[in-house]
């Protein structure tokens, strides 16, 4: 905070006609004593510990309650963090600044200029994070795609969001990407997320039989959430027919193991019935994908 004031002071010096602002800035600063510095350090340590402890506690607790309550507990994490940060900021401001309506008005412009130059991206991310808390394009526990990165939101920080990818990597993405990038959210706060599994067959197959098997494959998987709809969509390709089985696992975390289960059992059933796969070269399929 002192750094910001100094910075604004220098900026004010550089600006020839800002002597009045300089006076206001000096009025704003309270006396900095050793005791106040100690108190500030203690407040920061407590805040750090509280954020760390809250993160750990909420993650620990959310993994021990039934699935249905897991996401709602995880989603409270950003609010607890924001609460701790606001309390800490209030304590620090109270220690080092003489806040009065006039002082606040006078210094606001200076601070805004300083932040605009020095912490533009950081502040943009913080503000985007605050807006994301209310707009909720993503929450902790959601499975989202931002750019090329897909995974479960495992952390919601001041500056960015942490994703755990299917390869178990942690990717940190700044919140301010919500200004420019599209965000695809698979479950939007729910426990279930739709899984689309594609199957490809030759043109001459009996469609009714394939559709029937695909429905049965979904209905008989131990992971399937039967309360949600199961659908089969067809699409015709030059080299064959594509069937998309759309269904939901009971827990979005099982997404990949669910898809594997569907594929494994479907292939077994199709193999038993000798249903032909498309006779097409890999090059032709790649070409088709490139076109699409």
């Amino acid at each position: 905070m002192v750094t910001w004031i100094e910075l604004s002071y220098r900026l004010a010096q550089g600006n020839g006609g800002a002597s009045q602002t300089l006076e206001n800035t000096r009025d704003l600063l309270a006396d900095i004593t050793f005791s106040k510095l100690i108190q500030a350090i203690v407040a920061l340590v407590i805040a750090y510990g509280a954020i760390w402890g809250t993160d750990k506690l909420i993650n620990w607790f959310s993994e021990r309650v039934p699935r249905r309550s897991r996401l709602s507990i995880k989603q409270s994490l950003p609010f607890w963090r924001a609460f701790i940060l606001i309390i800490t900021a209030s304590v620090l401001i109270n220690l080092f600044l003489n806040l009065s309506p006039n002082n606040v008005l006078a210094v606001t412009g200076t601070v805004a200029v300083a932040l605009g130059f020095a912490f533009k991206d950081y502040v943009s991310s913080v503000i985007a994070g605050l807006i994301a808390l209310f707009e909720t394009p993503y929450q902790v526990g959601d499975r989202i795609q931002i750019g090329d990165h897909y995974g479960e939101v495992v952390g919601y920080g001041l500056r960015g969001v942490r994703l755990q990818t299917p390869d178990d990597n942690i990717v940190t993405i700044p919140h301010n990407t919500i200004w420019t990038d599209p965000i695809s959210n698979a479950n939007k706060g729910n426990l279930e997320a739709q899984v689309v599994t594609n199957f490809y067959f030759a043109h001459e197959i009996e469609v009714k039989q394939v559709v029937e098997i695909l429905y049965l494959v979904a209905y008989t998987s131990k992971y399937t959430q039967l309360k949600l709809p199961v659908t089969v969509i067809m699409e015709e390709k030059p080299w064959g027919t594509q069937f998309s089985l759309k269904s939901y696992p009971m827990d979005a975390r099982d997404e990949f193991v669910y898809k594997t289960d569907l594929l494994r059992r479907a292939k077994h059933a199709f193999g038993d019935r000798a249903i032909p796969y498309p006779h097409v070269s890999a090059l032709a399929m790649a070409h088709d994908y490139a076109d699409s």
Binding site: E63, R64, V65, P66, R67, R68, S69, L191, E192, I213, L216, V217, Y219, T220, S221, K222, Y223, Q225, L226, K227, M250, D251, D254, D261, R264, R265, H268, A269
Partner: protein, 441 residues
């Protein structure tokens, strides 16, 4: 208040490994060690007696009455539904109940076609379920074989007096790609063949599952859901069990005979109880088990203790000394001189009962939950069927099954794996909280 605490414990112990689960595990161990105080020979004998119990009278009466009225409606108007489905909890023996209902005198006038006549479980080769059902239905339609029919006359042609029975619809399917053909065929056959009435038994979880997969409730609109038993119903149903033990009353029982109830409580209802403590015990049992007979019987068994190892014994030091002096072998049923003096049967084990309480679930993993759900859905199955329904390897399933069996959650009965009814209420709550499609009891 107690039930709220129980619910919280169930809710909180639902997740993966944690300290709470460890404390629950300790409690479970404590209860198990307490239960061991009942000699295994006695426990085994009582368990056998539980299996031999006739179906509870209220269940039998409700099925009889529903069947009677449904049959009459259908006879009067053939456009009325020709099927009645009896739904029970996955741990209630619905097939046994239907057998008991059909064994009664007035049912003898009907020509009964039992389609699962020779089935004692799901056929080992599940592909044959469909074939066997087709064969059974076609044979009974053209002229039933003697082995498949009961009753006064063998019908050559189905008549309004023909009652086709499927005691356990659960046995007609297996949750795998080729395992649902039988139910699909049955659904079509029953709709097509309106020349006879169908009585079907099914567990509620399977019914709900089949409803999502085959929309079965849209076709079979007439269902009877077994209602919870009251405390008095439970007491009367378990009377034969009570006659196999010598119940040593606690001091409270002796001091609170039913005659000593307050004037407000002196009603017909109280005449059925021998003491206030007995009423309290069965009230608690009915509420804890949600009125499910199988769960109640298993909790009753778990609530029995040998007097000498009972903590209540400290209340009665004289009796305690007497038992201690006679105690020789923990596996030998306790008999003492006071019983013979009182004229009681010395061959009966002397036991005391504690308040019946639900056993705590052990720490369950996601795989355990899938396994237990599959068992409840199918109402008991062998290991290979269980593996097929889970889509997992036999080895992996066997390992989980062994652990659950050691924890007492799974039992083996005639080579079939079943969920121990005592764990059913906790398990139902746990699976429901974990987003499984459970039946409503």
């Amino acid at each position: 208040m107690t039930s709220i605490i129980e619910q919280f414990k169930i809710w909180f112990s639902n997740g993966n490994g944690n300290q709470i689960a460890q404390s629950v595990g300790l409690e479970s161990e404590f209860q198990n060690s307490d239960r061991a105080s009942l000699p295994s020979a006695i426990a085994k004998s009582l368990k056998h007696s539980i299996r031999q119990l006739h179906s509870p009278a209220p269940y039998v009466q409700s099925v009889q009455s529903a069947l009677e009225s449904a049959l009459n409606r259908w006879r009067e108007n053939p456009d009325e539904p020709n099927c009645l489905v009896v739904l029970g909890s996955p741990v209630e023996p619905v097939a046994r109940l239907l057998r008991d209902v059909l064994d009664t005198e007035d049912r003898q006038t009907l020509n009964m076609v039992k389609l699962q006549h020779q089935w004692t479980a799901r056929p080992h080769n599940y592909h044959s379920i469909y074939d066997q059902l087709v064969q059974g239905i076609e044979a009974s339609a053209s002229g039933a074989t003697p082995s498949q029919t009961d009753g006064a006359e063998s019908p050559n042609v189905p008549s309004p007096n023909t009652l086709a029975v499927i005691p356990c619809l659960d046995w007609c399917f297996l949750r795998c790609v080729d395992g649902l053909k039988g139910v699909d065929y049955l659904r079509g056959s029953i709709l097509r063949d309106r020349s006879r009435f169908w009585l079907i038994g099914c567990n509620r979880w399977a019914w709900k599952y089949l409803d999502h997969v085959h929309q079965i409730s849209a076709y079979f609109e007439q269902t009877l859901s077994l209602q919870p038993l009251s405390s008095l119903d439970l007491k009367e149903w378990m009377m034969p069990l009570a006659s196999e033990i010598e119940l040593k009353e606690s001091k409270g029982d002796q001091q609170n005979p039913v005659d000593s109830v307050t004037p407000d409580e002196s009603s017909d209802e109280f005449e059925a109880w021998s003491s206030k403590d007995e009423k309290r015990y069965f009230d608690s049992l009915a509420s804890t088990t949600s009125g499910l007979s199988s769960v109640a019987a298993h909790l009753w068994l778990r609530s029995l203790r040998l007097p000498s190892q009972d903590s209540d014994e400290s209340d009665d030091s004289d009796e305690s000394n007497s038992h201690d002096s006679n105690k020789s072998d923990s596996d030998t049923p306790q008999t003492d001189s006071s019983q013979t003096q009182n004229g009681s049967d010395s061959s009966k084990p002397v036991v005391r009962r504690k308040k019946a309480s639900l056993p705590s679930l052990p720490k369950l993993t996601a795989d355990d939950r899938y396994l237990l759900f599959s068992l409840l859905l199918h109402g008991g199955m062998n290991l290979s069927h269980l593996s097929l329904s889970l889509g997992d390897d036999d080895g992996k399933v066997r390992a989980r099954m062994q652990m659950l069996q050691r924890a007492g959650v799974i039992e083996r009965s005639h080579r079939l794996l079943e969920v121990n009814p005592a764990f059913y209420p906790s398990l139902q709550a746990d699976l429901s909280q974990n987003n499984f499609l459970v039946g409503d009891d």
